[in-house]
């Protein structure tokens, strides 16, 4: 199937281009995943303790939420630019942190509120029952409260992962955008195939990551399947 685009009968997509570039596409996909998903991992590592602190000392939460909301409104491109002096420009090695650090901050703006909401969703009777069974604060937290918070935390991780995968491509404007490289490549040559192929690959990556997180949630909350749902 070839659809003729408005400009000069050039087809929107040339299928043979895909076959000729499988190696490049695989490399870019792997790099894209690294740039997009390391921030989610780092984000969780920071958000869980931070969320715990906010759930423990409630006065901490409003200012933290305020900072998270401001982070959420930052333009990704601007944040990438601000990191260039610290980590450098280009693709691979240290320069990857120019993309990874801002995306970690974005993921925090979604993850921290979700960790706090998740911990607050633990019913008081459950907490009291754990205490009555002789659980100390730490053990109650790890064995009772965090597992109950898992669905809300994963819901946040899903939103963060999908937007992170999509946002990596903005990094292409500073020369490191995983599959996004192909947007500018196609745009500068007036050639739609690379743009469409990389868009489709990014959407597929997002949907697959989302599916993996849903599966992880099922594995981590086996009781949810036995319940009423």
């Amino acid at each position: 199937m070839t659809l003729a685009a408005a400009n000069g009968g050039e087809p929107l997509i040339r299928w043979d281009w895909i076959g000729d570039h499988t190696g490049q596409l695989a490399d870019l996909t792997a790099h894209h995943l690294k740039l997009a998903l390391l921030p989610i991992l780092f984000g969780l590592i920071v958000a869980i303790p931070l969320g715990l602190l906010c759930a423990r000392w409630r006065w901490l939460y409003p200012p933290t939420l305020g900072v998270a909301n401001v982070l959420y409104g930052l333009p990704s491109l601007a944040l990438f630019m601000l990191c260039i002096p610290y980590f450098g420009i280009g693709s691979g090695g240290r320069a990857d942190f120019t993309i990874i650090v801002p995306l970690t901050l974005f993921s925090l703006s979604v993850l921290v509120p979700n960790v706090v909401d998740g911990l607050r969703s633990v019913p008081d009777p459950v907490r009291q029952a754990a205490t009555a069974m002789g659980f100390g604060t730490l053990r109650r937290l790890i064995q009772v409260e965090l597992p109950i918070a898992v669905p809300v935390v994963i819901a946040g991780a899903r939103v963060a992962a999908v937007s992170s995968i999509s946002l990596v491509s903005v990094g292409t404007l500073i020369g490191n955008g995983g599959l996004g490289q192909l947007f500018v490549d196609g745009y500068s040559r007036d050639f739609t195939t690379p743009i469409i192929v990389s868009c489709v690959l990014i959407i597929v990556l997002a949907l697959v990551s989302d599916g993996v997180l849903v599966a992880a949630q099922r594995l981590l909350t086996p009781w949810a399947r036995r319940g009423t749902r």
């Binding site: 929107l12 409104g73 491109l77 601007a78 999908v162 739609t192 949907l207």
Partner: protein, 223 residues
Amino acid sequence: MNLADQIRAAWTWLTASAHWSGGEGIPHRLLEHLGYSALALVIAALIALPLGALVGHTGRGGFAVVTVANFARAIPTLGLLLLVVTVTSIGLTPVIIPLIALATPPILVNTYEGVRGVDPDIKDAARGMGMTGTGILLKAEVPVAMPLILLGLRTAAIQVVATATIAAYAGIGGLGRYIVDGLARKDYPSVVGGSVLVVLLAVIVQLAFVGIRRAVVSRGLRN
């Protein structure tokens, strides 16, 4: 260049009087930015609010709506922008289409979830008072779902304001010009200054929604 230098350079840039007048000036760029953002948000709301309310009210097609919205969330905005520019040409359309695609999913999902989640007792009470389908939807379900609907609109608005910076890449104005041109000219103060303006705009949008919430949400629903 450390953070303090960056802040100082951005401050100098922001307070230079030359940057506050004319077609390249901050007020003009700000209005352009607000214009694209508002247009995209209004179109997205016109699509998503009725659709979300209808699906939430009837309960039919909910799975499809959530699936399509998740799918749309994954679309890379920059890719869609450059694709539309390549197929058509530089102008308003390639900027507005990706922004609509960005704004629609959060409004759609929140409206749907909000209306669907209304307590059945409230719907029964409305029916008992003699309301029919449309009346129940508009006078009971939508007002009760309003906090969630506003949250969806707020999320969409902030994302659109932050992302409208890419409008500059399609050759039209907006605050992104300072960022994209600054990048091209290696003019850091312009990049930082432009970013600060976008952040301020995002904060103002958040505050505006606090006000809207107070005006629109029924008193009984505000704790």
